[in-house]
């Protein structure tokens, strides 16, 4: 038996490092950090058990490796719009948008979440109750969550292209905890009463939990309802303990996070997206705001406009495989003797009990129901192009 877990030099530890180890977390290097791939079997861990628990109850994921950034300044929204295809100037305070950092050729440098966290400044009154200063919005401020493996490149890219009057702050003293699953709201509501009902999917708020200043966002990377909580690093451990004290909540690692996001059809940067894939080929048209498709004004717009008009040579699709043998990243895809594409991520779906994959295939082969074959160790596996998500999303979008 062998496996090629390669080690990277200068691996850093996360604020919750000892917490993970105490829970039997099996630590592996990922994005420059020691991270738990799964927890001990004895305490209900294991990738499939953690995956199933997330789908049926709620799991706590440490995602503190991700980059948390603040972009601040009078023209912060306009400055961000020069770098991303999403509409940021029209993003209301407390709202979250999924968008992309693109290069000039339309290649994806990263995918990210941008939240308008601009503060409301309450009106000021004098001792007699006369308003001396009207309530107003404070300095425009945007909170960005970017991928861990790309955060240093993202910071360099932002520093290079944001104008001087816009300030970029790397919140490297913040941890990020994701609480995901159908029971996430129930559990969070018991710890922080009344908070979940204030938020629907892709909304965000600041919350003072005792003396801790938290940012709570209803979003995630599992396809389930859930929250991402940004917390000062020194309070990450007591917060994780408070959440895991709830009967619904167990810790889950990177392994389950990957199989959950694959079932949810969510691309993983560095695998399903990279600087040579464009948003149109990647099937992320929804991230190209309608209005901005015409008006443009962002890096990579020209390239995206051409792809939107002329179509793409290849496109990201979902594949459902026959049998039980998974096809992994890099496996080639055939239609008979013709090579038509390549798997970018794949694995066994615990929820569906068969293998699924994401792949880029030629446009002619991308229609739902198209029968293709994937080569794995000299064998041809039958696969069918299928719509994503493979497992339906269950976001809380409100009534």
């Amino acid at each position: 038996m062998s496996s090629d877990d390669s080690e990277i030099a200068e691996i850093q530890t996360l604020p919750l490092d000892s917490w993970h180890r105490a829970k039997g977390g099996k630590m592996v290097p990922f994005a420059g950090y020691e991270m738990p791939i799964q927890y001990a079997k004895e305490s209900g861990g294991g990738i499939v058990a953690e995956h199933d628990w997330t789908r049926s109850s709620a799991s706590l994921f440490d995602v503190s490796h991700m980059g948390q950034l603040l972009v601040t300044g009078e023209n912060a929204a306009e400055a961000l719009e020069a770098l991303v295809p999403g509409a940021i100037t029209s993003l209301k305070p407390g709202r979250v948008r999924y968008t992309l950092l693109l290069n000039d050729d339309g290649g994806v440098l990263d995918d990210l979440m941008i939240t308008n966290v601009t503060e409301w400044i309450e009106p000021e009154e004098d001792d007699d109750g006369n308003v001396v200063a009207e309530g107003h919005w404070g300095e425009p401020t945007y909170y960005l969550v970017v991928n861990g493996a790309t955060k240093w490149d993202d910071i360099a890219h932002l520093r290079e292209h944001l104008p001087d009057e816009v300030t970029l702050t790397h919140m490297d003293d913040q941890a990020l905890i994701a609480l995901q699953g159908p029971n996430a709201a129930t559990a969070l509501n018991r710890v922080m009463r009344g908070i979940p009902e204030n938020l629907t999917f892709m909304q965000s708020m600041e919350h003072e939990f005792g003396e801790w200043k938290l940012r709570i966002t209803r979003a995630g990377y599992t396809g389930e309802d859930g929250f991402e909580i940004s917390v000062p690093a020194e309070h990450a451990e007591p917060l994780a303990n408070r959440l895991c004290a709830e009967i619904e909540v167990r810790p889950a690692g990177l392994g389950a996070r990957d199989s959950l996001r694959l079932e949810a059809g969510l691309p993983l940067y560095g695998h399903d997206l990279n600087d040579e894939t464009d948003p149109v080929s990647a099937g992320l048209q929804f991230a190209l705001s309608k209005k901005r498709r015409e008006t443009g004004g962002y890096m990579g717009h020209q390239a995206c406009a051409v792809k939107l008009k002329d179509g793409c040579a290849s496109t990201r699709v979902g594949l459902v495989l026959e049998g039980r043998l998974p096809a992994r990243e890099g496996a080639l895809i055939y239609d008979g003797d013709t090579e038509v594409g390549r798997v970018t991520s794949g694995g066994f779906s615990p929820t569906l009990a068969h293998p699924v994959a994401m792949a880029y295939v030629g446009a002619d082969y991308s229609g739902d129901g198209t029968k293709l074959q994937i080569e794995v160790r000299g064998k041809r596996l039958d696969a069918t192009v299928a719509p994503m998500p493979f497992v339906p999303h269950r976001y809380h979008r409100g009534d």
């Binding site: 038996m1 062998s2 496996s3 791939i37 799964q38 079997k41 294991g46 990738i47 499939v48 995956h51 392994g255 990957d258 199989s259 039980r324 043998l325 998974p326 992994r328 694995g347 066994f348 615990p350 293998p355 160790r377």
Partner: protein
């Protein structure tokens, strides 16, 4: 019957000129949930230290090496429908394949149970 172990975490039960091969409890624990096992064909020639089978866990594919050289006489069909047997019973019901031993001297240098246990403890 004698059981030997390799540093790659395979076990081999030797009975006369034939042997049964599987992966150890330590190996299945490291691999995690196993979803598929690819076994050698009957009649296939396997060589000591070379690929003989593949286990697919949820997270990755890993090669299984043959502890000795020989010809495969039987593969464990039960793993086709129930690959979890490798997790639940790695050193009994979750065996991989049987083979005829080409050269018994290849068994020298493999570990016995006590040596393998201290090898795992050192990892």
């Amino acid at each position: 019957m004698a059981r030997y172990f390799t540093e790659e975490h395979e076990w081999i039960d030797v009975e006369g000129d034939s042997a049964t091969v599987g992966i150890t409890d330590y190996a299945q624990e490291q691999l995690g949930d196993i979803v598929f096992v690819e076994l050698p064909d009957i009649g296939a020639q396997v060589a000591k230290g070379k690929d003989a089978a593949v286990v697919e866990s949820v997270k990755a594919a890993s090669d299984v090496y043959s502890p000795i050289t020989g010809e495969v006489t039987e593969a464990n069909d039960a793993l086709e429908d129930d690959p979890e047997l490798v997790n639940s019973s790695p050193e009994e019901d979750g065996w991989f394949f049987k083979l005829t031993i080409a050269d018994k001297s290849e068994l020298e240098g493999l570990m016995d149970e006590a040596a393998y246990k201290s090898f795992c403890d050192s990892l």
